[in-house]
Symmetry: D2
């Protein structure tokens, strides 16, 4: 019998805070953390608010999108030195124009539990191409296995899901895989419940998944992901507004809300260690 | 362009408390209100907790399912005499074996804003037939128009939606119609996000809708309905458990939760008067 | 990984001719066979045209819908005596107002390979209730097992599919079950590819299925069922028109067309014996 | 009310033959036309078999994928000089590594009725990136408007549909747009009825559409597209096999089959002039 997938733990919800991203600026929202001290502080505040994991991008000294290793290193060190149990997830994209080595180096050296794996190439609508060439993806997958880092497979479209399944078949991604369903990106699938459900229905049998919506569909995806038994990602990378017309105060503001809603449903947010157990990292 | 319907007010959510129903007993949950004083008290408590509307069934002196007019009359009088602004919705089914006249009499005399209209006949799985013969539905629709009562069209399956559209085309139901999508009934569509979305995608262009899930899918449907911009129904008629393994304390406990979640999303629960405005009653 | 079900044999298509039905009249189409000699002759002609199976209703002496045993007996005898290998499928509904015994008697005595099992009760839109009470369904299922007759489960709506799954769980229907997806009935799901796909996606894992559309959606369902790897039912019971505006000449006209289309796809229509093997009857 | 889109002419089906493509070789199928005389001859044979349009790629002198203008010019001249009424559709991609000018030049000079417009960038799974950068798409759209060539928007994934809608809003593609839904490409959406339906359900309100499946899902998509009232593309570019295990003899073999199936449904294949009328070219 066909069933909408409920692959995740039924009573625990992994909440990931996407702290910074590559696109949003302090002009969009002055509360965006961009430098290591700020990012680490935001991570720790999210941990206190109940987050299971943080997804980390860094910026250069001018707050521009960056893959500078020293920035990653400093940020991760600050979080770890504070004794935080947070699951760490480092981006492997980071913006436009970075070399393969620049994209791989941070997770290879810093060995976070997770690193993002963008499972295909697409146009950011009318701006630039988000390049994730086949050769890069194959290299990236192999480097993650070598480093003991689990890919968080970012899916922006159906074809990327098919691509991820291909890499799973080839052993370049190991099962059970973990997916982040990214909806609402310009040029990708729109942030609708229908699109989320379509992706969830086509996931591999054995996997875990999380989802988020960028922009106006953010709350819809958060609610629909919780309806479907999914994990959720929130934060300033994806949304500068907390609700319509209301700028977000902080990353932890998003985390605290998800935690309250999850608890209304008789579930709990996974602690970082529970998240490790669910993800097998 | 095709879009998942968002037919309802985007910032206001109508919350209906289904207080009693025809099936649940005090043995299932001792907090179930069954007699007029109890039902009215529960309605008023729901109003205080933020409900927009109440859906009312009555029971006989032995708490069995009933369409006794005196019980409806007393219940409605108690609520109205208390000065409550609640939108009232009286059942027109009430259980098994009632005559057409017994089913119609309460709404015809008491003129609530809404009365339920069950848009077809089905098996309650392995128990009995839920009879809503074509002749009854036609009569019921005409009586509602004559009484100035708006039908809340209860939909348990796709065919009922097609049936409702037929009555709309025939003028037996007036547009914009108001739908209550009832998922999880034994013998009907299961309480899944996928089923809810399928129904919502096939609603008439101009309508308002609400949804609820019976039993284990209750929270999923509540969350998915909110994701999709729908109104929601909650209460002991549909669920004796508040969360898994936790008996509900009262109808207002459900109402208060929806209110909290709705407000987390930057929306508000419609006041009874706002609900009247949205529904055109 | 989720996949649209392809449960049927990939290279063989079972084609069932529904010869007469309960509703269509000779006024609608003078080529409709209504008396045993006509029905049997139509069955044999369908066999020659390539049909795997025939679904049989009978009429009384005035051509009205009927469950008269002598009519079934004569029809079946004529087909069998002609040495036809056709898989036989007798209706267990036959129209309105028949007793349970009248509905069960033909398949119990004549032991066709298949008999229809209508998995629920529904309104024929604005006319009458198509009654298939839970007690009847339970009895009917048990009688089919006792008689060695396989139910062809007719599904008009999602809830009926859930009901069928319930009877499978209870052992009242044995697995692998065989489904006939009936789309386009007034009061049921409409004859659209989308509805067909929705039903197919929710079938039990282990089953075989066929589909047909009544009226204007007939060709759409035939084509979509073939696209999805399903078996198909055709014939004057479901459609008096062969194509838009063109009255059908005979049941075999429909059969011959399906056969031609199936062969265009590099497949073949199952012979009656191949159909027996696929269905396990 | 939501309805599966039936945007195309209900009684006419535009059949496009995709003669050559960029990937298939004579080793895959020796009947593949690769040089201008062969391609033109295949086009004319398809026209005789009933095709409405041909989609043209060219090859260099070694049969490798090419955008050589002289090859396009010669091919088009041969078809036109033969007096063929075929609607002509020239590729604007042609394979890997061609300059924007090489991709645009053929349609700008030869002014076919249609030229392909690939509405986004994607990985051909594990081989290379199919580059259609935003700047190229904007340029390409403007050049098509300037040349009076209508884009046939090729869609391999949901995000490309959103991208196409963006260019429609910006006026870079004019309405009503014409879509070619390309399913089964490695790295794109798989060739399933479900994926086709999903795309069709999300098309702009006012458009025409056609579909095809690459490889094993080819017949499924042909049948499902016809079920949904769509136009269809067939030919050796997309499939070297006619049916499972059976190499195709020619492009016209595919065309003739679609024509036979279309006529079984009481419809006709659009003549080239009827296609021009439907497409507004």
């Amino acid at each position: 019998m066909y069933e909408t997938r409920r692959l995740n733990d039924k009573s625990k919800v992994i909440v990931t805070a996407a702290l910074t991203g590559a696109v949003t600026t302090k002009k969009d929202n002055p509360n965006l953390p961009t430098q290591p001290e700020e990012i680490a502080a935001s991570a720790l505040a999210c941990c206190d608010a109940g987050a299971s994991a943080v997804h980390i991008h860094v910026r250069d000294d001018n707050d521009a999108a960056s893959m500078r290793f020293d920035k990653f290193e400093e940020t991760v060190k600050l979080i770890r030195d504070a004794g935080s149990p947070l699951v760490l997830n480092l981006t492997s994209s980071g913006g436009q124009g970075f070399s393969w080595e620049e994209r791989i180096h941070p997770f290879r050296e810093l060995k976070p539990e997770l690193a993002s794996f963008d499972a295909g190439t697409m146009n950011w609508l009318n701006s630039v191409v988000f390049m994730n060439e086949p050769e890069f993806l194959e290299l990236c997958g192999k480097e993650m296995i070598a480093a003991g880092v689990k890919p968080e497979i970012e899916i922006f479209d159906i074809g990327m899901l098919n691509t991820a399944k291909y890499y799973i078949r080839k052993g370049i991604i190991q099962e059970p895989a973990h997916f982040q369903l990214c909806l609402g990106a310009a040029g990708g699938m729109e942030a609708t419940t229908e699109n989320l459900l379509y992706l969830v229905n086509h996931l591999p049998e054995k996997c875990t998944w999380s989802a988020f919506g960028i922009g106006k569909g953010a709350n819809e995806i958060m609610m629909a992901a919780l309806a479907l038994g999914g994990n959720v990602r929130v934060g300033l990378e994806d949304n500068v507004y907390y609700n319509k017309g209301q700028l977000a105060e902080s990353n932890q503001q998003f985390v605290a809300r998800v935690k309250r809603i999850v608890e209304e449903l008789g579930k709990t947010v996974a602690t970082p260690d529970e998240a490790r157990s669910i993800l097998g990292v």
